[in-house]
Symmetry: C2
């Protein structure tokens, strides 16, 4: 029987992550399908089976696509309402339907969030991955209401055409799933540290389903939650991520045979010289990222401090209206973001009808007909439109991210980067075609042939802006590689991400997630920042300057004395020392435990004059009433440091051991206490003093 128990004990963790993986994969599949359907509903309907989206509708008709874009089974709204598709009236009608749908969906999303689950807003990555996994607890943040409402509203918000993605929220949803399932297993539900293991795995699963990138998911969970990531769960997280990706893949919501979100296939390898424009894209990405973070934080702070924050619904409706009105006229901003990214990432085929692919083709020899060469006028129109999309999306995303709806930043950042990258890519392409004899091109390109892949520039640009905005590194590169399924472009992506991170860090140290954490004031100790000050523990600890320090003496305080101490102070815990005269540390007792024990004792009729005992054997006779034995709530192994410990070591211990406080001693005598908040306050203080920042790290 003992073996069975051990067996169950060992397997419950695996079973738990298996369930998380399956459910996360399933939920992600449902969300993907739902979002695609609702997105297409803005444009039209499938009258024969309204529950099908455009692609499915067209598949059901057994008909080959004509114009690559429309099929007779699918009716756009003007067609349904009897207007001609191409007429001016039809355009107005389509415009109107698009805007009305967007408004309806946006309104519904914000009302649902406001009514049922206020925590369902935002991306969730700053709060949940970074802060919760570092040990902070936000009640209800990972509950079933958040799960349900966030899943639904994510679909609504994406379908409303707002400039947001569902990737960040998917991570939050996966963590909710992990949290709920963890409660089914007592071993994990009851222990916060153990539950964090499950949450790490869930976060990995979330990224895995969001991008179809299991390895990237694990690395994301590791890199962003590195604060307290137990390496022994790496394997379990990977399992969880893989299961969820496998389930999602079996559901196949993208309706293609590739298991990746944006399937990219380039014919040509990149040439060494191209590293220069890639690094240039990285620099641009860093600048854009830093500018975005500043503007967004400025706007969010304005929202917090002004009256705007009191009208979240109005805000969402207004932004949705503005987005929809401005997005429709431009074909590239009208299409769903993920479709736009797909178009930008891929090269032009010979038969593609969009403006971007309007190349003058060389039909002199039939075999070469596919090669694109000089750009036609359509390409230049498309570039202008893309430039407008870039500016529009940049501005609108600043206002969107931070509103009271689920909103991820990955897709908008990728749109920004892909437009920018494609523009640079087409520019390089035309350079190579018009100046084939320039030395950098002449060595690698044969004349008249195209040797620059503009789609690759879009991929690299997307990685660069993502790097600038989120400041992710390894995980971002791996996600991009897995996302596009092409390992051969790992070096360009890496170069761009690196440049973006350095430039971004030079312009403003925090990524968007850290910036939002500081904005919201969560207690979070960044584990990647290097620390190079010479403070000692004695400079940080409380109390300093001989302020009295609330300690409990071992065997000499009465119940009422302890109670009044609890009332007068607000500390979360109290050190226990030998006596007032010899303050040698005995242990540490938590306020919560003390409250419970004293309340229980009072209920049992223990009088206020009873002594509180914290040692094992009471010696001698008691003059007063029988003492209250509190030894069981005393933590006899608090972590202590000496007052001469460098702050760097203290921070290291906080991070690596996941501490909330540590006691400071000198020659064994208790001097004070350092909490995580004390450290953060001190660091903030130093930062203000320290105007000249280290440019790179």
């Amino acid at each position: 029987f003992d073996l069975v128990r051990q067996f169950h004990d060992a397997w419950s963790g695996w079973l738990c992550v298996l369930l998380v993986g399956i459910v996360a994969g399933g939920v992600a599949g449902v969300i993907d399908i739902g979002a695609r359907w609702m997105e297409d509903m803005r444009f039209g309907i499938c009258p024969e089976a309204f529950w099908l989206n455009k692609d499915q509708c067209c598949w059901s008709s057994n008909e080959t696509f004509f114009e690559g874009d429309n099929c007779s089974q699918w009716y756009s709204w003007p067609e349904v309402l009897g207007a001609q598709h191409d007429s001016a009236g039809g355009y107005v009608l389509a415009y109107l339907c698009y805007v009305v749908w967007a408004l309806l969906l946006g309104l519904l999303a914000v009302r649902l969030v406001r009514t049922f689950a206020p925590y369902a807003c935002g991306s969730g990555i700053p709060e949940q991955i970074k802060t919760i996994l570092s040990g902070f607890i936000i009640r209800g943040y990972l509950g079933k209401w958040t799960l349900l409402i966030k899943s639904v509203c994510m679909m609504l918000a994406v379908s409303a055409g707002l400039s947001l993605g569902k990737e960040g929220p998917l991570v939050h949803v996966a963590c909710c799933i992990g949290n709920i399932i963890a409660y089914m297993f007592p071993k994990y539900g009851r222990n916060e540290a153990k539950k964090r293991e499950i949450l790490s795995a869930s976060a990995a699963a979330g990224v895995s389903v969001a991008f179809g990138a299991p390895i990237g998911g694990v690395l994301f969970s590791l890199e962003e939650a590195s604060y307290y990531f137990p390496l022994k769960t790496l394997w379990r997280s990977f399992f969880c991520a893989l299961i969820s990706a496998f389930i999602l893949n079996s559901i196949n919501p993208f309706g293609n045979e590739h298991s990746v979100l944006f399937y990219v296939h380039h014919e040509r390898p990149w040439i060494f010289f191209e590293l220069l424009p890639f690094i240039f894209l990285g620099v641009l990405g860093g600048v854009i990222g830093a500018a975005f973070i500043r503007s967004n934080i400025f706007w969010c702070r304005f929202r917090k401090t002004s009256r705007l924050g009191q009208y979240p619904t109005t805000e969402v409706v207004a932004v949705t209206l503005a987005t929809a009105l401005l997005a429709f006229p431009n074909p590239y901003s009208r299409m769903p973001s993920s479709e736009l990214i797909n178009v930008l990432f891929n090269d032009c085929g010979p038969s593609e009808g969009i403006d971007l692919c309007d190349y003058k083709r060389n039909f002199s020899s039939m075999s070469q007909a596919i090669e694109t060469s000089e750009a036609g006028p359509g390409v230049y129109t498309a570039l202008w439109q893309l430039a407008i999309v870039f500016v529009f999306k940049f501005l609108v995303t600043i206002f969107t991210f931070g509103m009271k709806i689920p909103a991820g930043l990955f897709i908008p950042s990728m749109v920004l980067g892909a437009t920018m990258g494609r523009i640079v890519g087409v520019g390089m392409e035309q350079l190579a075609i018009n100046y084939p004899n320039w030395w950098v091109f002449s060595s690698e390109c044969t004349a008249g042939e195209n040797c620059i892949t503009s789609g690759l520039y879009a991929t690299v640009g997307a990685a660069a802006v993502l790097g600038g905005v989120t400041r992710m590194t390894v995980s971002l590169v791996v996600i991009m590689v897995e996302l596009t399924g092409s390992v051969s472009y790992i070096v360009p992506v890496m170069a761009a991400v690196m440049a973006a991170k350095w430039v971004g860090d030079a312009l403003g140290r925090e990524g968007i997630y850290d910036a939002h954490i500081y904005l919201n004031g969560y207690p979070f100790l960044d584990s990647k920042e290097e620390f190079d000050h010479t403070s000692l523990a004695a400079d940080v600890m409380e109390p300093r300057n001989n302020v009295p320090f609330s300690v409990i003496t071992q065997n000499s305080m009465t119940v009422s004395e302890v109670e009044s101490m609890l009332k007068e102070t607000e500390h979360n815990g109290f050190p226990v020392v030998v006596s007032k005269e010899s303050q040698y540390l005995v242990g540490f007792v938590l306020r919560r435990d003390l409250n419970l024990a004293l309340a229980g004792a009072r209920r049992d009729g223990v009088p206020g004059q009873s002594l509180c005992l914290f040692t094992a054997a009471p010696t001698g006779q008691w003059s007063g009433p029988p003492p209250l034995q509190l030894r069981r709530i005393l933590d006899l192994a608090p972590i202590t440091i000496t007052d001469q410990t460098p702050l760097e070591t203290v921070i290291d211990m906080f991070r690596k051991l996941g501490l909330r406080q540590t006691l400071v001693t000198h020659n064994g005598r208790l001097l004070g206490i350092i909490t995580k908040k004390d450290v953060l306050r001190h660091l903030k203080h130093l930062e203000v003093e320290d105007l000249e920042q280290v440019p790179f790290h």
Copy 2:
């Protein structure tokens, strides 16, 4: 100027890993080219240009291959010596040349190692990655002689046809490079902890070049060196790994356009039902791995304790002779291991001439001619030969791994797994062809068509045996994925690795690396083992049972008292307390520092009666000679714990903070000390008591 300094400070790390990456990539390229050339030298020579290997020789001849195997430019030894290639005499001559070459190369390798660099033997992964990265220092282990000799001997040993690989040693070589380059940067060369960051990156680069797997390399370094892996260097390690892979790729030693070691391309996806045989392969892999570890450790222990250990040269020559004699007759063991793996991993093309691909092809319809169907007699012969190879390689690897030559285990394990997997795969394939109506096949396969990919089974089998032998997890899966370049088979590989790990762990808890670490007695605390005993710090610390404890009192010991204490004890450090009566901890002083300070003082003529002072301000007048101020060598911030701390927490602190010892106090009073060795001894002791092991973890 300050900015320049800061800039240099921030960039020196990047510059350092950049250099490591470039040099590691270059060295790996040279080793790969050298090893291929020497391998081919066993069979013949390119008379026109003896420095070319067979492939290059044939390329230079502008001739299309005939028989896919030979070209007129390349002369086998019998041809050079005038004998007919096909005659019996030719065979004997080829055999003889093969054996003689192997013996010469093996002898040279072992003599070089013995004479110049004794540390160059073995795989290097147990010692160096695991032990050195955990904080242990082995002088000269990462020096330039080790680098040079190991690089050369690796080529020799591989070319001698021994059952060993050059992947593990490549990691060691990369670490040597990292160590040497770190000394060029004072920031890294002088600080052991900082140097470990570079070594982690180097290890990642080593795996990266060994397998062409940069992501896998980083994960390997993370998983195997997780003991002390600083997450902030993850990005730098990744950079290093990528640079080295890029350089190696530019050198292109494999002479193919794919950047992977074994390029695999399968046409068919795997079907869900196949997970069963994959898991079966995993179970086999676990069993084989455990059996291999036990036998190998048994043999290594025998070598250590018997007289065999005194004749390393004889041993190597004997094993080389036996290997060469037995390997030549069988075509699959005769070819170089990496070529064999390549053959086994890939499906049979329509024109391949080897026995393994002797399928009865269905030529009735021309378009279907490629489909393999029923196996011909050649396939069965090949299966027998493969089975013999399996047994032979298993036995010979047991004797090979641990000899005094550079020897990696990856390639031999992969050979074992690939042979096993291919045999199972062909079996499954024939099942599917002969029983196409069986329900598991009927749903997925059309009759007469082959729906089982036997090459995939070889890949999965290789991963399974590797998992069983090394007990790696995530990094192994990622390496296999990157190695074969096919992301689509990540689920089968994962399933097999998982099964192998569980079965292996149930049969014997340690992987081969850990087993060798224990065999050699290195102080290494496994960071992945879960610990579930209830010991307290008080049970582990030294001294127990009132044995006297060597402490230094703050301001009351004379120089000669301290000197005699240093002589009488062998501790690496001594706690300093307030006084004999009140043993409150003041700090900790290292034996090394104490020795230096006292020797220096003696040289300056400080008499033995001088007091040693450890506090700042000496109070009062001194009756004797002026006291010796030792405050500067006193560590005022030693890590302390209380005697009631659970051992689990203690181990956690050792691991995460990279401690070597911690001091144990009770109510501020010093009780004892716990060193890493005390913990290891206690764990060993518990393990012996604890006969019933947890079956899974």
